[in-house]
Symmetry: C2
Subunit: 247 residues, 2 copies
């Protein structure tokens, strides 16, 4: 197999969505973690529900609506300045520490992002984090009006890069995304940032009650969807070696 | 408006999916609640993800896969007898206490279930609970090979009952389901079993850590999907009076 392009999911894969917790905690002391987790759960749910209902709205609307839901259900009130400050963090998410060096080490391949994010959100995020200097393309699902894991979303890779699925390595830490890409026919490397052993250890009863544990429990382990990623890695930093084996 | 048919969601609306907790707690002491909540979250996710991926499997497969996921992520092991005993509960879920009397009080209308459940699961569940004596039809989404909230699923009501959407009252306690039905054009009564006041009260910080609170937080409040149910009720028992106003 030849890998001509390496395509990355953005949120949770290159960018740490958990990094919003610093802002939510600053605005709502004691509630930072629970706001962060519920927000992310509802954000993903809304992408899937709107896709199925055929009521697409772009990811910036969904991110806003899911934050509004989260604050309402927790009985938290804030003025629009605070709301916008929290939203703003989505345009300045932290990169995972190994992201930039990993991309730089594979510049002999086409490099791109394929993300649920809106074009506006992604352009700003990529520029703010400096990834615009190494990426050949930043692809938003927006033109398909349907979110991942719809095959329509993954088909944009070939449309934009001109590389067929069999020659693409798709990289995601989101199990549902890895499954969707695999179902479409891409080669998939799944980043398993939390090992089953660490997860089981966190799930001893005394820790079960933490929102972050609950979130990890529903989102970290490979899903039971009848699909398996081609590669399992623990960190982005493992990619250059893997890719080098497929010149 | 004339209501010629009243159509119910099954899981969480007529039948209490939380009633599996008694069985999960008996099999995994101390873990009953967390197993119940993760199982239900993943069960719903898998219906949406498989629908979007176009990898439909019926609800019995999804219920089995989501239970397998749940036990694996929590590091819980069991033999196949125990696994089957837990699964079996889905065929004997408790009815909400007002379900049977509510249905009996509206027998001048067509009465049906429209559910994600497979035909086999629903037939058994309806017979085990005695609702086969009052329902005109039990409709499974199975023939469309896609789950709610896809419009294809809701279209089965007219196909089976011969009643157009404008003359159907659809009843669900699941916010996403109420939104999906509304988007399709059905009249919708949403059962808000937990009021926002009670929810906000449960979400004082000291209670936030309970899995059931977390689950309620993501699943009980009306979703921010740009749609509103036509009616908000607190219990099934309010339906006969509401329906009587639309002869």
């Amino acid at each position: 197999m030849t890998i001509k392009a390496v395509v990355f999911d953005a949120y949770g894969t290159l960018y740490d969505t958990q990094s919003v917790a610093a802002v939510t905690e600053a605005e709502f002391p004691g509630y930072g973690e629970i706001v962060t987790q519920i927000w992310r759960i509802k954000q993903l749910e809304y992408t899937w529900l709107r896709s199925l209902m055929r009521r697409y709205q772009d990811f910036s609307v969904i991110t806003r609506d899911s934050l509004a839901y989260t604050l309402k259900v927790l009985g938290l009130k804030c003025d629009s300045d605070v709301f916008e400050r929290i939203m703003e963090k989505y345009l300045h998410l932290d990169l995972y520490p190994d992201a930039t060096a990993t991309l730089a080490a594979m510049k002999d391949r086409k490099l791109a992002i394929l993300s649920n994010g809106s074009t506006g959100m992604l352009t700003t995020l990529v520029r703010n984090s400096g990834l615009d200097r190494v990426l050949d393309a930043t692809i938003s699902v927006d033109s398909t009006k349907i979110f991942k894991p719809s095959p329509d979303a993954y088909s944009l890779i070939e449309t934009v890069l001109g590389v067929p699925p069999a020659e693409v390595l798709f990289v995601s830490s989101n199990p549902w995304d890895a499954c969707g890409a695999r179902a479409f026919g891409l080669n998939v490397a799944w980043i398993e940032r939390v090992t089953p052993e660490a997860m089981a250890l966190a799930c001893i009863k005394s820790d079960l009650m933490a929102p972050l544990t609950m979130f990890k429990a529903i989102r970290t382990q490979m899903d039971e969807l009848g699909l398996e990623p081609d590669y399992r890695i623990q960190a982005l930093a493992e990619l250059p070696k893997l890719v080098a084996q497929h010149p």
